[in-house]
């Protein structure tokens, strides 16, 4: 049993094991859908059921293939500690902060915070992070807001239009 668990959680099989769980969930959700509607002889559930069956067969093939090299896989030293994985995903965590603040405080402030945090995380130089976060935000804002007439979030908590009223006035004069 322990060996079986080790096999499913090995580096080679981990993603396929997670995918198998998702596939099973997907398959059982498909069963709840209607089989046919009107003249439609296959209905909304048929295609997802076919996909999940194909996927399950493929995963079983993959497991069988990997079973042949099982010994090798079990001897493999697992280097994936939780701390290491969190470190790897730090850029995503910073990006999620950006997404969280994107509509709340508007593009300008969220982009400033995001680019500052990201550059500082990668470079560890406060001065560079400060200068370039302002520069990047400014250039991208000009390009998208004025150049391409994009709708940027201006913020609900802090409204950029109220803080910098001239931004909207400039856009009005262009378009």
């Amino acid at each position: 049993m322990r060996n079986l668990l080790k096999f499913f959680l090995s580096k080679e099989n981990l993603l396929a094991s997670i995918f198998l769980i998702i596939l099973l969930f997907y398959f059982f959700s498909s069963l709840n859908l209607e089989k046919t509607i009107g003249e439609d002889v296959v209905g909304p559930s048929s295609f997802p059921i076919i996909i999940s069956l194909i996927g399950t067969v493929l995963i079983l093939f993959l497991f069988l293939q990997n079973l042949k090299k099982k010994d090798k896989l079990i001897k493999e030293k697992d280097n994936n500690s939780i701390r290491k994985n969190i470190n790897k995903l730090s850029p995503i965590l910073i990006t999620i902060i950006f997404v969280l603040t994107f509509e709340l405080i508007g593009f300008i402030f969220s982009s400033l915070i995001y680019s500052f945090l990201f550059i500082y995380y990668l470079n560890r130089n406060l001065k560079i992070a400060l200068i370039f976060s302002i520069f990047i935000t400014f250039v991208i804002f000009i390009l998208f807001y004025y150049g391409l007439n994009f709708q940027m979030p201006m913020g609900t908590l802090i409204n950029t239009d109220e803080v910098f009223p001239f931004l909207k006035a400039i856009k009005k004069s262009i378009y």
Binding site: S29, P48, I51, S52, P91, I92, F98, Y114, I136
Partner: protein
């Protein structure tokens, strides 16, 4: 017949060889290239952005500017893919594979040059095809109904999955994952599936969230990881221009890409994305060194890039000849025609030959401008790669986010981009290819629609489609595309056993 075509084309050129129209074409090509580099806008979006501008122009000038913008966007999309691994459109996804690998090896200039040259040659092939074969091919496209499309999609999937990555099973699994994503949201009958009760998922998962997450964000994570772990990065001196040897080496890939792209482009709904995928798998299948694909093989850039440009010109055939828009872009173009009081369809060739042949001439001139404009700009584009990574990575992420946000104004799509970024990172770490996921997402809904229509047509008997010759051809090609790589792998394994 050729006399008539030739004299019509000369008339078309006479009309458009005017400083005013040439300026429109130059402006359109430039704007298209710039917009094409940015993710999220795409060719349909770029043309839609041009609509307020073209309203103040005369009909021919409008057609001219739209055509030049379209060719510009198709080329611009590959620039971001090659340099930054940021595909803004389905057709640009395949350029990430070998194009970005070439850039990593210091050959970004060569990759961009072959993309520009390939786009020009294939664009020319497609324009010639549009002139000569247009009406005939449009007639053939009408013979395609649901079973033929289903067979075409199955062929496209097997061809790509059998050749991308090291394991066919992993590629097929990645494609299955893409198909699963495509079923989220409302189906063709309006039934909501896998939305987890969220209204925001009724329209499904946005294509850009998946593409930019899998490709761009996973690349950002990988690069950040190497910066943090203080991995020594080799500072590459990027070659700006291409060698003549590389052009001659890729010449036939460009021609094949042009022909494949044109044929697929003519089929309504098939599109430039599928054309580039099919061209890539064809190149890899017939290559003497298929193992080089995915590692910076120039033919892996030349073929697909040519195919996507040819497909964009091919898409004009059903639009002009039948009044049927084959893609979102030609739908916008058709809308623009209506605004200009031009009725597309079989009578267009008789009633408004100036528009038809003006458009053909515009596509050709647009291709020339694209080459003139982009070859000198390559040295400028390549400089992007000299920007330090710690500055480039946040810029890429912000541009990706704005691209996604601009298309649906939903923060959910941004969260999904982050989620797909994580999935893409672990897929790459476990050696799962990413391109089949995109193919699954793109083809999923169309495949399901064709499947359901086929079943209705055959009263539930799927195997009745085997009575159709075009279906049989595609199924035959699908079997060949699976068997050939398996056969060559077996030969290689046997040879290594003997060694």
């Amino acid at each position: 017949m050729f006399d008539v075509i030739f004299s019509n084309l000369i008339d078309g050129f006479k009309l458009v060889l005017d400083v005013k129209y040439l300026t429109y074409a130059l402006f359109g090509s430039f704007l298209g290239t710039v917009v094409g580099v940015l993710p999220g806008i795409g060719s349909a979006g770029a043309l839609a952005m041009m609509l307020p501008i073209i309203l103040v122009l005369d009909p021919l000038g409008s057609v001219f500017m739209l055509a030049a913008t379209y060719t510009g966007v198709m080329y611009g999309g590959s620039t971001a893919s090659i340099l930054l691994r940021v595909p803004g459109d389905t057709s640009a996804v395949i350029a990430c594979l070998d194009g970005h690998e070439m850039a990593k090896q210091g050959n970004a200039g060569a990759a961009l040059c072959i993309a520009a040259i390939g786009s020009y040659i294939a664009g020319t092939i497609a324009v010639v095809g549009l002139m000569i074969l247009g009406p005939f091919v449009a007639d053939l496209a009408l013979k395609f109904s649901a079973p033929e499309y289903l067979a075409l999609y199955i062929f496209a999937i097997t061809a790509v999955c059998s050749l991308v990555g090291n394991s066919m099973i992993k590629a097929l699994l990645a494609m299955t994952f893409g198909l699963m994503i495509s079923t989220i949201g409302e189906d063709i009958m309006g039934v909501r599936r896998f939305t987890m009760g969220s209204v925001l998922l009724w329209d499904g998962v946005q294509f850009l969230s998946v593409t930019l997450g899998l490709f761009a964000i996973s690349e950002v994570i990988i690069n950040s990881e190497s910066i943090i772990s203080k991995e020594k990065r080799e500072v590459l001196k990027h070659r700006v221009f291409i060698k003549l040897k590389e052009i001659t080496y890729s010449f036939w890939s460009i021609i094949r890409g042009g022909v494949i792209g044109f044929i697929i482009g003519v089929l309504p709904g098939a599109g430039a994305g599928i054309a580039s995928f099919v061209s890539y798998s064809t190149e890899r299948q017939i290559s003497k060194n298929p193992e080089n694909f995915g590692k910076g093989e120039i033919k892996g850039v030349a073929g697909p890039e040519s195919a996507n440009n040819a497909a964009s010109a091919g898409a004009f055939v059903p639009m002009l000849a039948l009044g049927v828009p084959g893609s979102a872009t030609t739908a916008v173009m058709l809308g623009a025609f209506l605004m200009l009081d031009i009725q597309a369809g079989p009578m267009l060739f008789i009633e408004r030959p100036d528009v038809v042949w003006g458009l053909v001439a515009a596509l050709y001139i647009g291709n020339i401008f694209l080459l003139i404009l982009n070859l000198p700009l390559i040295s400028l584009f390549v400089r992007i790669l000299y920007i330090p990574m710690y500055l480039l990575l946040p810029i890429i992420t912000i541009i990706c986010m704005l691209g996604i946000y601009s298309s649906d104004q939903l923060t959910l799509s941004l969260y999904l981009m982050c989620l797909f970024g994580i999935i893409g990172y672990y897929m790459r770490a476990s050696e799962y290819p990413l391109a089949p996921v995109i193919l699954g997402v793109v083809l999923g809904s169309r495949m399901e629609e064709s499947f359901r229509q086929t079943m209705i047509m055959n009263q539930g008997n799927f195997f009745q489609i085997l009575d159709r010759p075009i279906v049989l051809i595609f199924f035959g090609l699908a079997i060949v595309s699976i068997m050939v790589p398996l056969y060559f792998n077996k030969i290689k394994l046997d040879a290594s056993d003997v060694d």
